[in-house]
């Protein structure tokens, strides 16, 4: 198994209703993760890109959170509709998608 060129981590953290801290799980993160897996399957770029789901990545109020290494680029408020753009522009072509970056207040 080769080490991927880019590894995307998608938060799937959930919290019970009424919990004082929000969670990506309340904001459709599962659809975001599924869309990354779908894009990977469609592209067949298994040697280049890896997709992994995670527990809490930290900036819960700004989720769904998506983190790309080795750059350490975090995206916030990611919608299913944004995934193909992140996949193509950043994961495949190496150019982070500026308009979807997490606010520097939360990840800098």
């Amino acid at each position: 198994m080769p080490k991927p060129e880019r590894h995307v981590f998608v938060c799937l953290q959930n919290r019970p209703e009424g919990h004082p801290r929000p969670a990506c799980g309340q904001k459709n993160c599962t659809a975001v993760a599924e869309e990354f897996f779908f894009n990977l399957q469609q592209s067949q770029l298994f040697d280049k890109v890896q997709v992994t789901t995670t527990g809490c990545l930290g900036p819960c109020s700004e989720g769904p959170s998506v983190l790309v290494y080795p750059e350490g680029v975090m995206y916030g408020r990611v919608r299913k509709e944004d995934v193909a753009t992140i996949f193509e522009e950043h994961l495949v072509n190496g150019k982070p998608v500026e308009r979807l970056l997490m606010s520097r207040e939360f990840w800098d």
Copy 2:
């Protein structure tokens, strides 16, 4: 929230008994993850190190799997007893622990 200098990802993937693919969840990965969180808490290095649990990281037969970015260094067969060494030598001091590296057959 600052971007950490090093971000360690600990696989917590489980699979039902009898599943043809092994899983880190059958190999005490929860204790490994808890030990990373314990080391982080003890060190108070929250600005420098981040610990995140994950779904499957890939090399299931060699788990528990632990992955460190931005280097993209993967450790295999990690035991709770190994965590303090990885934490101190690699996450804090930046020197990967050679003897615990995942075999290059599985991550290269």
